[in-house]
């Protein structure tokens, strides 16, 4: 229930290829910057007392990188992904569609006899041999991309 409400008030936008919540993103960027930059600057000040300047800057950079990674870990804890994961069961319909698409592409699935022995064994082990053999009769006779014969495809 509360999760539903939480979802309804989400302000989703797509940034850099994935969906985020604007408010969460704002904080995530602030946390990344606020942890990263001051860590670097403080480390630079500190290391300058201890070692030569060039090396001090390099070490400080390393500290800055670690701080950014830490910020990433904190952000990951604070803000869960805006994604839904569905465990997809394999189903016959999508198999048939895939076969139909392959037939449409090249006109035929090709004959099992053309396959190297290893590939044929692989198909058999996967339980796909029948699927590919079933449309063979039709596939060999059909020249170009004719829409797939439903029955032949479904075996």
């Amino acid at each position: 229930m509360s999760e539903d409400e939480g979802r309804r008030s989400e302000q989703l936008v797509e940034v850099w290829g994935d969906v985020v919540d604007v408010r969460h993103l704002r904080w995530a960027v602030v946390i990344g910057c606020v942890l990263g930059l001051p860590s670097y600057l403080l480390a630079a000040l500190l290391f300058r007392q201890l070692t030569e300047p060039q090396l001090a800057r390099a070490y400080a950079l390393l500290v800055g990188l670690l701080a950014c990674l830490a910020a990433g870990a904190i952000n990951a804890r604070l803000f869960p992904p805006k994604r839904d994961l569905v465990e997809e069961p394999g189903d016959d319909q999508s198999r048939d569609e895939a076969i139909a698409e392959l037939v449409a592409e090249s006109g035929a699935l090709g004959s099992l006899d053309e396959l190297p022995e290893a590939a044929r064994r692989e198909l058999r082990d996967l339980g796909l041999e029948d699927l590919f053999a079933g449309s063979r009769a039709r596939g060999d006779s059909a020249p170009e991309s004719r829409p797939p014969d439903e029955e032949a495809v479904r075996r």
Partner: protein, 455 residues
Amino acid sequence: MIATIGIALAMGLLGAIVFSAIGLVSGTDETATLAPLTLLVVLVGVPPAGVLAFFLAGAVAKHMTHMIPTALLGIPGDTLAVPLLREASLLRRLGVPHIALHKAISGAALAAFIAVPVAVGAAALIAPFARQVTAAAPYVFPLAAVLIAYFSRGRWAAVAGLVPMVLVIAALQAFVTPLHGSSLSISFFLGIAIGPLVADLFALSSPFARQSMRRHTRRTFFLAPEVKGWTGWFPNPLKVLDRSQQAATGASAVLSSLTFVVSPVAMTVLLGEAVGARIKHSYHRLTSMMAVKNGVTESTYIAETLIPLVAIGLPLSPVAAGPAAPLFNAPPVYTIDTASGATHNLHDMLSPWEFLGFGLVAVFVAVAVAYPFAMNYARTAAAWVVRRLSQEAVIGTFAGLILVISVYEGGLLGLLVASTVGIVGGLMNKLLGMHAGVQFMAYYTAALTVPALLG
């Protein structure tokens, strides 16, 4: 010598682990991740062999684990996984996503081992002409820029876009150099590499632009079911591929290791389709194309890095100018003198034999880490990333990194340069399809050609 090998092994291992993880996160572009992290490794003072091993192991590992989201979730792991999406999706719908994954990563392992010696050999053939190329560098870069721009998604628009991009970079450089006391380069790189993110963040803060970015639903990911097809820990890649697939993968790896100016995506599509067209049986075509295409993603990356690096020392390929840029130019550690084109980078610090040796070490380590990981934990890892690693966290980390690295190089000026180049480059990238590789070439044109022609 033993210490050097130890460093190469250790840095290779680090690169392999880090980029095996990054490969799992879909949409993590190679340039945006490999370039900044390699840069960090250079700047903190890791010796040349370690830098090379880190980069190569990272690239090889990423192009293995990028197949995990591609095969199991049906979303491309990164830019170079896009050409594999269709075949992977078909195999997934046939109920055998694990076959797509296994064929692809076995092809990758095979191609990576082939690519290193072939690329170093090809470099040895080009090396005698290195001096002429270096002397002509001010004229070679604009030519390469036009070529790479034309082959980007933007075609002529990207070629035309070179003019304003070069001018913006040259003008910014002229502005910051006297203020900072020396020229900047890392900030420019960073701005280009991370441009699309900068542009998105700017757009997001504009109520007007935000409208087009709104989404009303979460993204739904469909995770393919677990299919246990084999037992053991480290299946022999050569057994996963049948003989004809080994031959096709090997041949396309050799071929793609000899060229270094074509973009990796184009090469992957080209060789993949060439092989696919010769195979009659649909299932065999799908699985062979997985192996060949993913093999080519490895071999082009390795060749386009190693050939210019070993032979010339100037970043004259799309990969060398993009993800591998810090191997060529990362001041103050590695430099390219803009007046003469003289280099002081990995090219001058390692011999061809060392490139070969450390290159093979890197590939070996990457395969040893990424291959069994992808074989055994692909589904668990894919589910974990989707459920636990938010895009917010990824963006927050990168925002921090841009800030830290640009301030490291140039203080406030560095930050201003990175964000200015970021928004200009990012918009050109999104609007014109002018990718980061083209923009890196614009940077070199601005640095080398503009002074030579107009100076």
